[in-house]
Amino acid sequence: MAQVFHPRQLLLLKGIALGALLAAIAAAFLYRVATQAPVARNVPVEQPIPFSHKHHVGDDGLDCRYCHSSVETSAFAGIPSMATCRTCHSQLFTDAPILAPLFDTRSQRAPVYWNRIHQLPDFVYFNHSIHVAKGVGCSTCHGRVDEMPLTWRVASLEMQWCLGCHRAPERYVRPRNRVFDMSWQPPANQLELGRRLVAAYHIRGTRALTDCSTCHR
């Protein structure tokens, strides 16, 4: 059979195919960059004051709610006011240079800008209080914060990840009295325990939990 294409045409076609492939790769790359979360996962995030959850939670044993005081009542868990920090730090480490911004906020009216680690898109309406009330523990989404000298994000926070639990909450829920327990691990019979808790806490069925309107408004 005679050659269908002249070699020069063939070269052109190969070139076009290669170009298309490169363009597709570039487009995929651009898409990833464009939709990337603003803060990388599993990477500690620098903060104006190098606040250590490991020290405050792990070593000193502070309860989550001491600082994140609205976690049980509001959508937002709450960032402590500077006055909360100074309940201890008006006495402790007052001269430490790394704590200087804590006092500058008052004396020089220079606010501290924390870098946000868990950031959801604006069209997602996540509510902390209902998750806490239904037995979703802090560490389920935030990881072992008590072991983080500088905090980082462990969950992807993509919709796929949210749906993982909304489709099968029994795999993640824990008793309410263990919600703030950092060391809680799912027991061997988690599925059995989870099903019991889902019933006891009146967690809605998968259909309702995966309604678009549950998270998007």
Binding site: T35, M82, V112, N115, K134, A208, C212, R217
Partner: protein, 946 residues
């Protein structure tokens, strides 16, 4: 009226042509921009220094205060989201509100955040400072103080504020030669003069519609524009719930000179020229047994008057005659006398002390000021919160006389006409930014508390007056509190003060009814019934009022009741009057009246009296923000102090040009379909007795019925209660971050309102029946929009809500094309502008939509979600009435009921079990969750309306 062709949807005439090379360059740039912009930027969190009390982030707090219109306050609860006032709700404790609001209260937050508000002190139009102004004023004080205040004049609007009145009285005591003038363009002059004629002293009439079974309105729009109208609308409709107690239904007779919502809701409405209402009032008074000479010719058939008089007389003590602010004093006085004869005083009407602190004749007061300015007697003029250069009768020539005043000061929210021509301009604090107080229609006082510190360093009138009086410079809080300390006094003051602030009403502050004895006033001779004379009627614009809201985009784009016009005003006339002159909608005419001329586009309005023109104030501005100037025409330019309300002798000259107007409804008739239903009361009683009837449309369903096992949300809209005021539309706009689109886009049919109020005329153009029908998304169980969406952006959730997923939407608009109710709205352009101060108004619980996305009513999903979370935390179901949609909350007449259809005791379920319940376009089998109850008319058996 023929349907008007909408503008071409895509108009490329303004798009410059580009070469291919340029196009590629632009494309490259936009791709680079798109990939750069869509990336989510890292956020930062700024913690509080000290957490304010009670303030948990993202949880809204509500504060009770009041918003005033023409001086009269209405109680509101303002939602503050992390310190930002974002939404106004009615205050259930307040007698003028009972939990509902009007359109003006709803729009107040937009005025607060308006980026066009005046932001700096100006001296002769040049930036200055408050300190400089204070120094200048102090320098002037030595002059007027030495002369006992001679030459010092203060102009305010209608003052009901006890604090402001006390400050002014103190100032006048200190400087007896100083003068306080009051002029509000929409004022109570005729009402107060009427009580003076009838009773010999100034009184405030207050009506009780719950007890009125026959109501006669003589040019009084009590459902939409009188002080207390929100309460009146509620009470009137409370006495009109035929489904519940049909025989107790009231009957409304209305005679009006310009079409209003009251006339539209009346069982019997007659449209007359304003000057003829006097005649009718006399003829009726005579039928009621009052010794007046009956006019020889009455422009209404005798049978109508007889029926009306019969109803009034048989409902002794349960009838009511009320007269509008436009009508002259003696008509008011006749009505007072008639009410007394009918035994209504003390039951349906009461007379209290006037709500205005100083109930003077305001027109006369303005005339005196104008004369004093012309004579050069005014050395210092303080203009507090009004705009007399724009909003005063033209013959007083305020602008010219102001030039003779050496020291003029204007305190206002905008750099308006007066601000530009005064020596000093001081930015005013908005009502939501300052301490003050106000009284409602019944005298109830509310202490207005600020929701936020003044955004632009604005001052309240109290603070300016304190400086003028040379008092210690005090903040508004100290001034207002000091007055109430004196009023309420006692050891318990702190408690009373806090209770008053918390509840939004000062306890026991409503005025008590006074004893009155009416006498027959001396009646002026009747004007000739010269029917060839063209009359002119002045009226506030339904939405921008006297011009205070002209820069409020929500109110500008809100279609006006009856005309459905947006963004402009037009001179209204009857279709017949237009036909006689060969005029059609949008034709420009020159109106000539007493030697003054104004050019205006024409709008032919069915139900308008013949040979009469309605001119609405508020447009034709030359300053006052970015959107205020350049639209409509200025009706004040024709208003004279001799006849500020209405007059004959106008002439209309067609100019042969056209001015495009943007109407939100292109078609006025139902064309034989039964969209907005209306039944006579007898039919309602019959149908209620029969019980539910099977629908004439067979429900053929191919698929199993939709199941909502947990909650089944639904809505019922009572068309009998709906008065067409559109408070729902604007409440929805505020709650759901709905953008405004501008006149050009409205002309293309692209307005974004999630709930619209359709208006239909039925019958002749001269005497049409008017129907109102609020139309939100129907949340069809078989939603036609869902099956055509290629990306499943339009889907059902398990509770029966038809939800729109903005992030999936790619903008095909198939859903909108397939929606038989036309409730879907598309963001053709980037309507949600990124303006910092407007962003602060946005509801944080609702996504702001971008260009290319479809949107529509969500049944206030965010409110359902909040209630669901609250109930689930307490381990219970959502209670009936716990979810109140924004439209439902605002509605003055409780026409909208929302709730769970799975709850057999819910109000919405009960409403839907009525045999009168119906859905729109039932034959399409869409099974809407929104259904309607028909309007009910209660005609007099002897009267056959057209």
């Amino acid at each position: 009226m023929s349907p008007r062709q909408p503008r071409r949807e895509f108009d490329f005439s303004g798009v410059p042509e580009r070469s291919r090379r340029e196009f590629l360059k632009l494309m490259g740039a936009s791709i680079a921009l798109a990939s750069g912009c869509s990336r989510e930027l890292p956020e930062r969190i700024v913690p509080y220094e000290d957490m304010p009390e009670q303030l948990a982030a993202t949880k809204s707090l509500y504060f009770a205060t009041a918003l005033s219109l023409d001086g009269y306050g209405s109680g509101v609860l303002v939602e503050s989201a992390m310190g930002r006032p974002i939404k106004v709700e009615g205050n259930p404790n307040h007698p003028a509100s009972l939990g509902a609001t009007d359109v003006f209260s709803q729009a107040a937050v937009l005025t607060l955040w308006d980026p066009d508000r005046s932001q700096t002190v100006l001296r002769q139009g040049v930036l200055s400072t408050w300190d400089a102004f204070r120094a200048a004023l102090t320098a002037r004080r030595s002059r007027f103080a030495s002369q006992g205040g001679a030459g010092l004049h203060i102009l305010t609007g209608s003052v009901t504020s006890p604090t402001l009145a006390a400050q002014l009285h103190r100032l006048l005591d200190k400087y007896p030669e100083a003068r306080w003038h009051q002029y509000q363009p929409i004022n109570r002059d005729n009402v107060y003069a009427g009580t003076r004629l009838a009773f010999g002293e100034t009184r405030e009439p207050r009506y009780d519609f719950t007890r009125a079974r026959t109501v006669l309105s003589l040019d009084a729009d009590f459902l939409r524009s009188m002080p207390g109208h929100v309460r009146y609308a509620r009470d009137f409709n409370g006495a009109r719930r035929p489904g519940e107690t049909p025989s107790a239904n009231n009957r409304l007779y209305a005679i009006e000179s310009s079409p209003t919502l009251t006339g539209a809701k009346a069982d019997h409405c007659r449209r007359l020229r304003a000057s003829q209402i006097d005649r009718v009032a006399r003829a009726l008074a005579q039928r009621l047994g009052i010794a007046v000479e009956s006019p020889t010719s009455v422009p209404i058939e005798a049978g109508w008057l007889d029926a009306c008089a019969f109803d009034l007389l048989t409902r002794h003590g349960e009838s009511l005659i009320l007269v509008g602010e436009r009508q002259p004093a003696h008509v008011h006085a006749l009505a007072h006398l008639a009410n007394e004869r009918l035994g209504n005083v003390g039951t349906t009407v009461q007379y209290t002390n006037p709500v205005l602190a100083e109930p003077i004749d305001q027109l006369d007061s303005l005339r005196q000021l104008s004369a004093a300015m012309a004579a050069g007697e005014v050395q210092e003029l303080l203009i507090l919160g009004v705009n007399p250069l724009y909003a005063t009768p033209a013959d007083l020539e305020f602008a010219r006389h102001l030039q003779r005043v050496p020291f003029s000061v204007h305190l206002g929210l905008y750099r308006d006409e007066t601000a530009m021509r005064s020596l000093w301009h001081i930015p005013a604090a908005h009502e939501l930014e300052a301490w003050s107080d106000t009284r409602a229609y019944d005298g109830s006082a509310t202490i207005q508390q600020p929701l936020i510190a003044p955004l632009y360093g604005g001052r309240s009138p109290h603070e300016v007056l304190a400086v003028l009086a040379g008092e210690f410079e005090q903040d508004g809080h100290a001034i207002v509190r000091a007055l109430w300390q004196g009023e309420l006094g006692g050891d318990d003051f702190e408690h009373t003060w806090k209770t008053s602030l918390h509840n939004g009403v000062v306890p026991d502050s409503a005025f008590t009814a006074e004893q009155v004895t009416a006498r027959l006033p001396a009646l002026p001779p009747l004007r000739d019934a010269d029917s060839s004379e063209l009359e002119i009627v002045f009226s506030p614009d339904p939405h921008v009022h006297d011009g205070v809201y002209t820069n409020n985009a929500w109110l500008r784009e809100l279609p006006k009741p009856l005309t459905e016009l947006t963004w402009d005003n037009a001179v209204l006339m009857s279709p017949e009057s237009g036909r006689r002159r060969g005029l059609a909608n949008e034709d420009v005419v020159e109106i000539e009246y007493r030697g003054r001329r104004v050019r205006a586009p024409v709008w032919l309005l069915p139900g308008h009296p013949d040979e009469s023109l309605t001119l609405q104030f508020g447009y034709g501005r030359t300053a006052g923000g970015r959107i205020a100037p350049g639209a409509g025409f200025n009706a004040y330019a024709l208003q004279t102090s001799a006849a500020p309300s209405f007059d004959g002798g106008a002439r209309v000259h067609p100019l042969g040009t056209r001015y495009p107007l943007a109407s939100a409804q292109m078609h006025n008739r139902m064309e034989g379909r039964d969209l907005a239903r209306m039944l006579p009361l007898s039919a309602v009683i019959q149908r209620t007795a029969q019980g539910a009837q099977p629908s004439k449309h067979e429900r053929k369903l191919l698929y199993p019925p939709f199941a909502s096992p947990t909650y089944a949300w639904g809505m019922s809209i009572n068309l009998d209660a709906c008065v067409g005021c559109k408070a729902c539309t604007i409440a929805c706009q505020a709650e759901n971050n709905i953008p405004v689109v501008g006149k050009d886009q409205v002309q293309r049919g692209r307005e974004m309102h999630w709930i619209r109020v359709d208006r239909y005329f039925e019958g002749s153009d001269a005497h049409p029946r008017v129907h109102f029908q609020p139309v939100p998304c129907m949340h069809c169980e078989r939603a036609p929009c869902e099956v055509v969406c290629p990306v499943e952006a339009s889907v059902h959730d398990s509770e029966g809500l038809n939800v729109q997923v903005y992030n999936r939407c790619v903008g095909t608009r198939f859903c909108s094309n397939n929606c038989p109710y036309k409730v879907r709205r598309f963001n053709f352009l980037q309507y949600s502008q990124d303006v910092p101060s407007l962003n602060a108004q946005r509801n944080p619980d609702v996504t702001v939509r971008m260009r290319g996305v479809m949107e529509k009513c969500s049944y206030c999903l965010q409110r359902i979600a909040a209630a669901k979370i609250a109930s689930e935390k307490e381990g219970r179901r959502i209670r009936d009435g716990e979810v109140v949609t924004a439209c439902q909350a605002a509605c003055p007449t409780e026409a909208i009921v929302f709730g769970d259809l799975n709850d057999p005791a819910s109000r919405v379920r009960i409403a839907k079990t009525s045999p009168l319940d119906y859905v729109l376009l039932e034959e399409l089998n869409t099974l809407p969750r929104t259904s309607y109850l028909p309007a009910v008319e209660n005609p007099h058996p002897d009267l056959q309306e057209t």
